[in-house]
Symmetry: C2
Subunit: 255 residues, 2 copies
């Protein structure tokens, strides 16, 4: 049994705690947070604490705090030579204090507070400085049922950046579609099956092959009609820039 | 039994033909195309023809030809006062020749040539000029198992425009993520569960509520690190514009 201490009390911490509790390979023996209030709902299931001096001995310490707090918290830990990892996509592994064995467990997924998480759908990127720490982290990730991949810090940063495109930016395109349809009394709900199908399509096909539409066809009549229909300048600018991008990808003439 | 003639031999025509063949309410009695070669695989299942003078009498004629060909084909049809519809998102219902009863059946979905289509996931927007034609079109759409919605031409054009954002533009963001990850030796495959989850999230939650990430948090450190990491100017421009758009939506300060 691998003993784990979780530090932090955000979404990632909560989902990890719940998921580890269902495994036979990992036991969360302590949960630390700066303040105990967020941990109260779990205080009967696990030893909780808000004082770093009370931390118990464990095989692995998982820091799930905000990016800006990782370096400081790791240096404040009152022990050394233990395996300490963070879960951030953009913080380097060397930002952890060098008195520890250092690593990263980066879950490449969006976590909502309330929705249940199936870790089979959460790829975990693993990074370690010393090779000996890798098998333990791999075992921890596999115990959750997650697909795993060993990556270096550059690759992890790149995945985090790419995740902004496919998650935050894509979601903003959904938002714009919501604005456009509502302003005309059309229903955003009508677009939901298309949203899902667009995401499903690239599970088996490259985005390059999956592309269709007026930009790819260089259908100027439709493109110009769409630009005329758009009321907000921002929506026009995004339409033009992404149309140009599709045409650059597919070798079409520009607008 | 509603008798239907399909005109055109693209993806929409083929998927409609296959789907109608499974219903008990609709019978495709003839399939027309300019040339017979594309219809050959179906010539034993249905009467095929390439001459408009050979068209048989039917309750409904569905024009699935390209946007630019709809008006001309409708005027060439050698009959009048029959119900003639097209399936385009952006062509007006009045573009059909006025000698016909006119309508639109617009399936709001992306069709691939090879993939099977479940019409339960294909909302169909219905438009008719005279009210009497509506019940028949509704019955045809419902026979496919599709959700239906009566819309006017403005609403249909708006849905078609919004579909470009959630389908073509979203797919281009996937493409950019593919480019970014591949150039760093990271795997695009790692992003696939996130792509799917992002689409699933807005099935039950508004895109506004679903938003997360550095732009919404106004996390300048991460935003600047990402801009530095991006090599292509086009990728930087899209990052900046969509970050600004998220910040406008969520009332954050600009970059």
């Amino acid at each position: 049994m691998i003993s784990v201490v979780i530090l932090g009390a955000g979404n990632v911490a909560t989902h990890l705690f719940k998921a580890f509790n269902k495994t036979n390979e990992v036991s969360v023996i302590q949960w630390y947070n700066r303040t105990l209030d967020k941990l109260k709902p779990y205080s009967k299931q696990v030893n909780t604490c808000d004082n770093l001096d009370d931390l118990v001995d464990a095989d692995l310490y998982i820091l799930t705090v905000s990016d800006d707090s990782i370096a400081e918290l790791s240096s404040k830990l009152p022990f050394e030579d233990k395996l300490v990892v963070h879960t951030s996509g953009s913080v380097g592994v060397y930002d952890l204090d060098k008195k520890h064995k250092r690593g990263v467990l980066y879950p490449l997924q969006t976590f909502s507070k309330d929705a249940d998480v199936d870790f089979a759908n959460v790829p975990i990127c693993i990074e370690t400085i010393d090779k000996k720490s890798y098998p333990l982290l791999k075992k921890v990730a596999v115990s959750l049922g997650s697909p795993t991949k060993r990556v270096n810090s550059d690759q992890r940063r790149t995945l985090h950046l790419a995740a902004v495109y496919v998650n935050n930016f894509t979601n903003q395109l959904y938002r714009i579609a919501h604005e456009i349809t509502e302003s005309e009394g059309a229903e955003f709900d009508m677009l939901k099956p298309l949203i899902l199908e667009t995401a499903k399509k690239v599970q088996d096909m490259s985005p390059y092959m999956a592309q269709t539409g007026p930009a790819k066809r260089n259908d100027k009549k439709t493109i110009n009609a769409h630009l005329k229909l758009l009321e907000k300048q921002e929506h026009k600018d995004i339409y033009k820039l992404l149309t140009k991008s599709i045409q650059n990808t597919h070798g079409r003439k520009k607008l």
